[in-house]
Subunit: 405 residues, 2 copies
């Protein structure tokens, strides 16, 4: 039959990520395009033990759970925040979701009507842009520098567009890897509070902080959510995830905010899929609070390894092919955000790279508009050999273009 | 801060189910309101073994998977259909979702614009109504009898409203428990095909067929999807789930349809939450295809037990309090759809029942409009003692009203 899809459904089909994913899974491609953690570091034995214990202990682990998610895991999160960061989470102020992406989507659905103006830190993650486009938002980019969003730019965006909200990733922005300074965090938050702009803070990468990884980075760079917490004004919705720090297939992210906002998102969650897997949530809770697993130690291990991979990638970018490329060296996250030699177009480079067997994320997917002079390279997933081979192929592809010009 | 929620967000807050769920979990309520399977029948030892095997075998089980879901489980479903029902599923024609509810929601998002007319078998499940209301559909009820939707009523609905689609549950409609006859299935399908109306067939309860439970009910009552399959016209989107037949906490449902429709839903799935838990999907696949678990045998066991519970509930409805109530005895599913003694209002009865410690689903939640003269009672979850106590409390509540009038 001839289908009549909804007006904005076509916005979903723009992403080349779907086909890149497929080719990578077939083993025909080295992918520097995605945001996968290193699976060789997953705590498999402890997870396996947790799974069999949880399932054997209580048939309730396989039953329907609550739409807001497994209570003890929500309490664990609340306790972790209070103990680790001194942050008080509102009662009823946490919702467990299917990864951080679902938190973004649910928020968009309960808060945005078509035509609503939404400010977005630019560049940003493809997932945020997709959810906003599907909801019909008018997306307004806000620029930043190495310390975070530019307050003047934000202020004029607010005055000109009277937006409902701001999407930002203050810690290791996807894709640029920027870590906002404390001063900038305070300034941006203050601006949003004074103009009644809701801030959606995606902190999916915040724990992947490589500098002095023996300390708790959270003590030095409080989230916007933590900064506002004392006044409890509810201007910040915090989004976190266990996908990068434990394992993505558990599909457990969360949103934290005021009781009113989380209540509305919970109602949307119930409508969207009743609830995420309470089995996975119980498994995580067992891992975090019963087993020998130590999340902070595990994150330290991840950060040491990811830092090594980042440095290797940076070394490989010193090769001649990349001599007119520039990038800022991040101190965390999963990505390098590289500007291409002048005149080289990211989408054109992608076609050549795919033919050679390597993929990356072209800048336009991370950009409100434009972005074709940049590419995002993931360094967390490829092991040493894969990284060497992948970057060799990338260098070849770049050289083909630069040799021509 | 003062939040500005989207225009239709308030449609989400109408359901009393959220608070019923909460009270039930606290143990302060006997719930005949929900659609929970009996957890004492979950195949726990085999699931526990599957979980530890799957996690130990391959770190890939904890990594991000594909948005369309774990390939081998999709292949298992395709093979099960071909072997069990002779139905050919299109290549790329299956999407795994977070339960059947997510399949409904994703379809609604890619197919419905605000103001689009949608036909709905009436009464229907609260989940279908919520997803349609959130999407801004104009919902048009279609009435049925004990053999399924009334073709004349459907025909006039199509002519008058020119709808995009029809939502129906031909096997054990939630809440009414109706099993459409074969003749009616063919007639309704034919009507929809000839008017280019997309049919969304929710078959979440189809396997819970109590009559002659030693045979495969599917051989006698093909789904609309199976009936159209030969022509491959793509007019039917089939929605199924393992929530009722294996365990809900695995959160694994699926949609099957044409490659084009499933492709669009997969793009929406990626935007909504990237993917459901591939760990749970692998666990299910291991259970179904490697372990000693036999799904057909397990379903036979479920049906024997549920039939016993249904009969007990029907016995309890013979008590004096219910003497002017009527209902059709279903041959499957999870619910009795009971009309109340005349003049008794379902929402008023719910308030009294909750005070006594028992909950049911009031008819208006299952109805496009009206429905206050009916209630939905779940018989699959409560064990014998709980059912006796719950129905005693229900009888007391009903008597309080009928004694007054």
């Amino acid at each position: 039959m001839k289908y009549e899809f909804s007006a904005r459904a076509h916005t979903l089909l723009s992403s080349p990520l779907l086909s890149i994913r497929k080719q990578t899974r077939r083993g025909t491609l080295i992918s520097l395009a995605e945001e996968l953690p290193a699976e060789e570091l997953f705590p498999l034995p402890l997870l396996s033990e947790a799974a069999s214990t949880v399932i054997s202990a209580d048939a309730g682990a396989l039953q329907y759970g609550d739409p807001e998610g497994y209570g003890p895991l929500r309490e664990w999160l609340t306790g972790d925040w209070l103990g680790g960061k001194g942050v008080h989470v509102a009662e009823g102020g946490v919702l467990l979701t299917t990864g951080s992406q679902q938190a973004i989507d649910l928020l968009a659905r309960v808060y945005i009507d078509p035509g609503d103006r939404v400010l977005v830190e630019n560049p940003t993650s493809p997932g945020i842009l997709q959810a906003l486009r599907m909801q019909g938002a008018v997306i307004i980019p806000v620029q930043g520098d190495k310390d975070g969003l530019l307050p003047d730019h934000l202020r004029s965006g607010i005055r000109q567009h009277r937006p409902k909200m701001l999407f930002a990733t203050p810690s290791f922005t996807n894709p640029s890897g920027v870590l906002w300074s404390l001063a900038r965090r305070k300034e941006i938050l203050e601006l949003c509070i004074s103009h009644n702009v809701l801030v959606i803070e995606d902190d999916s990468y915040g724990d992947l902080h490589f500098q002095r990884y023996d300390e708790r980075p959270s003590l030095r760079y409080p989230s916007l959510y933590a900064l506002e917490n004392v006044s409890e004004g509810g201007h910040v919705l915090y989004i976190g995830s266990f996908s990068k720090t434990v394992a993505p297939a558990l599909r457990t992210g969360w949103a934290a905010g005021s009781r009113e906002l989380i209540g509305m998102m919970t109602a949307a969650k119930q409508m969207a899929d009743w609830q995420s897997s309470s089995l996975n949530q119980r498994l995580l809770h067992h891992l975090l609070s019963v087993s020998a697993f130590d999340l902070r130690e595990h994150i330290t291990l991840l950060n040491r390894e990811y830092n090594t991979r980042l440095k290797l990638m940076a070394e490989l970018l010193k090769r001649p092919a990349w001599k007119s490329s520039v990038y800022d060296m991040p101190v965390g996250g999963m990505f390098l955000w590289v500007s291409l030699p002048e005149g080289l177009d990211a989408m054109a480079l992608l076609r050549v790279s795919l033919a050679k067997g390597v993929a990356f994320l072209p800048g336009p997917l991370c950009s409100v508009s434009g972005g074709s002079e940049r590419i995002r390279l993931n360094f967390s997933h490829p092991g040493r050999d894969e990284l060497l081979l992948g970057m060799n192929l990338m260098s070849e592809a770049v050289s083909e273009f630069t040799a021509r010009s």
